[in-house]
């Protein structure tokens, strides 16, 4: 099996960083104050599994992101008719929230939600859904419909209804860009949710990091970051293949 050149480069650099880490922090600076010793990190995997319950916490974060992503995607699809309509109240509302979010970061919402529902795991799902829905709705609202103009003009001349054009033509025209945007935003979704969980502190991967930091357990923090990094990378690759299978077209700029 041959890898894409960009991935090959990525893995080559990863291997170099790994070797440098082993050489420097196992043998040159083995005190574990800057980065942990590779040998100690290896031992931390067991602690992450048994003491930090990384699997169940990982599954909570994973489910929160991807269940919310699926629900948000279909919610945006249902509302797409309004989101692309220049005169729609929903579009204005989303764009006004966007303006608001430029000055008040989304994490403020997270603080309130955590304050109101400190022990609820469900609130993580609500927060992630709101975040992803807003991000996707904003992308669709800002989409330049002029890219789809040839489809729209041609479809209108056939006498197709505006709602059919919105649902079946403009939506499919938007999909390739939306797919790329969703893939690009993966790290953002993971980071924001982990930050939310660190503040909330009782579930998800963020709680693993929070606890490791509280116990000043550098090797567990490092090991957890390694595991999360590898899994997120794999998830993005799988998602990318999956998305390419279903959204196989892309509009080439003419």
């Amino acid at each position: 099996m041959s890898l894409k050149p960009s991935l090959r480069k990525f893995f080559s650099f990863l291997l170099i960083y790994f070797l440098l880490w082993v050489i420097f922090f196992e043998f040159v600076f083995p005190n574990g104050k800057i980065l942990p010793q590779p040998g100690v990190v290896w031992q931390s995997f067991g602690a992450l599994w048994f003491s930090y319950h990384i699997l169940s916490n990982f599954l909570i974060t994973f489910a929160a992101i991807y269940v919310s992503l699926i629900v948000a995607f279909f919610a945006v699809k249902i509302l797409s008719n309004h989101l692309i309509n220049e005169k729609s109240f929903i579009k204005d509302f989303i764009l006004s929230l966007n303006l608001f979010s430029e000055y008040v970061p989304g994490i403020v919402l997270a603080l309130f939600l955590i304050f109101w529902f400190p022990n609820s795991t469900f609130i993580e799902f609500v927060f992630t859904f709101l975040l992803i829905f807003f991000v996707l709705a904003k992308e669709v609202s800002n989409f330049s419909i002029s890219k789809c103009k040839p489809y729209i003009d041609s479809a209108r001349s056939f006498g197709l209804s505006e709602s059919l054009i919105n649902k079946k033509i403009i939506w499919n025209c938007i999909l390739p860009d939306l797919k790329d945007y969703i893939l690009k935003k993966q790290i953002y979704f993971w980071s924001i949710l982990i930050a939310f969980e660190i503040i909330k502190g009782n579930s998800g991967l963020g709680s693993v990091f929070g606890n490791a930091l509280r116990f000043k357990d550098l090797s567990a923090t490092f090991a957890a970051a390694l595991i999360v990094g590898i899994f997120v990378f794999v998830i993005i690759q799988v998602l990318s293949l999956f998305a390419k299978k279903f959204i196989h077209w892309s509009e080439v700029e003419l």
Binding site: K149, P150, Y151, D153, S154, R156, S157, F158, G159, L160, S161, L164, K168, I169, N172, L175, I247, H248, W249, S250, E251, L254
Partner: protein
């Protein structure tokens, strides 16, 4: 008499509003008609870029409203597109997410008009015989134009507008498309309106050419193209084409627009 006319465009003007109440005139007093039972099946608008051809085509197809004047199709004002005038834009419009067959089926499922021709027959007529199950994504401009044309023919419209859609094709593809269009025009009782900047294209495909000048776009001459030379052998055809091109260029030279047009095949 109005009843004999398939399409009548009368005194169409189009202007856009600019700053401080200024008006940008795009089209000025465009009037012409297409008789119902005329032998002339392909009418072209030959003009340089920026002469309002696309605005005119869209007004005819009721995709844009004229600022003044009206478009009458078979004695009725044509102000809402209903599938009787199909517009094929300059950029490819076949749906990238559907295959050729599904694209045509999608349109047929959602429109009132239907052609008596079967989908497979239409696909082979436009030269896409073995491409029925191919997705438009990955097809060339030429092929995507053919899909748009098959889709248009499928709903049996009165008029098909081709808005400079062949411009993006390479030389060889364009020649093949001219040939295919010639065959299609013979087989269907549909009128075609072509907008182009290409003299050769206008001469090879049309029965009548309207020459337009720009700023604002107006028709300044009507030119009937004889048919007989098009079926003659290649040498004679090229000689006649060359002579006609010179005639056309002279008209545009008089308007100081001869450099704005394209001559390639």
């Amino acid at each position: 008499m109005n009843s004999e006319k398939l399409l009548e465009v009368s005194n169409v003007k189009k202007y856009y509003h600019g700053y401080l109440g200024s008006k940008l005139k795009v089209l000025e007093n465009i009037s012409f008609s297409i008789p119902k039972d005329s032998e002339q099946k392909v009418i072209s608008f030959l003009a340089p870029f920026g002469s309002g051809k696309t605005s005119l085509m869209k007004i005819i197809a009721a995709l844009e409203q004229a600022s003044e004047g009206e478009v009458i199709l078979e004695d009725k004002k044509y102000s809402l597109p209903d599938g009787n005038i199909i517009y094929i834009p300059e950029k490819p419009s076949s749906f990238l997410w559907l295959n050729v067959k599904s694209d045509i089926e999608f349109i047929l499922k959602n429109t009132r008009n239907k052609s008596s021709k079967d989908i497979n027959e239409l696909i082979s007529m436009v030269g896409l015989g073995s491409y029925g199950n191919h997705h438009s994504h990955g097809l060339s401009y030429g092929f995507r134009f053919r899909v748009s044309l098959a889709r248009a023919l499928a709903v049996n419209p009165k008029i098909i507008i081709i808005d400079d859609s062949l411009k993006l094709m390479d030389h060889l593809t364009r020649k093949e498309v001219y040939e295919m269009l010639g065959q299609v025009v013979k087989k269907f009782e549909i009128k075609f309106i072509l907008s182009t900047t290409n003299i050769t294209e206008a001469l090879l495909l049309s029965d009548k050419i309207f020459f337009m000048r720009k700023k604002p776009g107006t028709i300044f001459h009507e030119f009937d193209v004889e048919r007989d030379w098009k079926d003659k052998d290649e040498t004679e055809k090229q000689e006649k084409l060359h002579a006609l091109k010179n005639d056309v260029i002279n008209f545009f030279r008089a308007e100081k627009m001869n450099h704005d047009l394209s001559f390639s095949a």
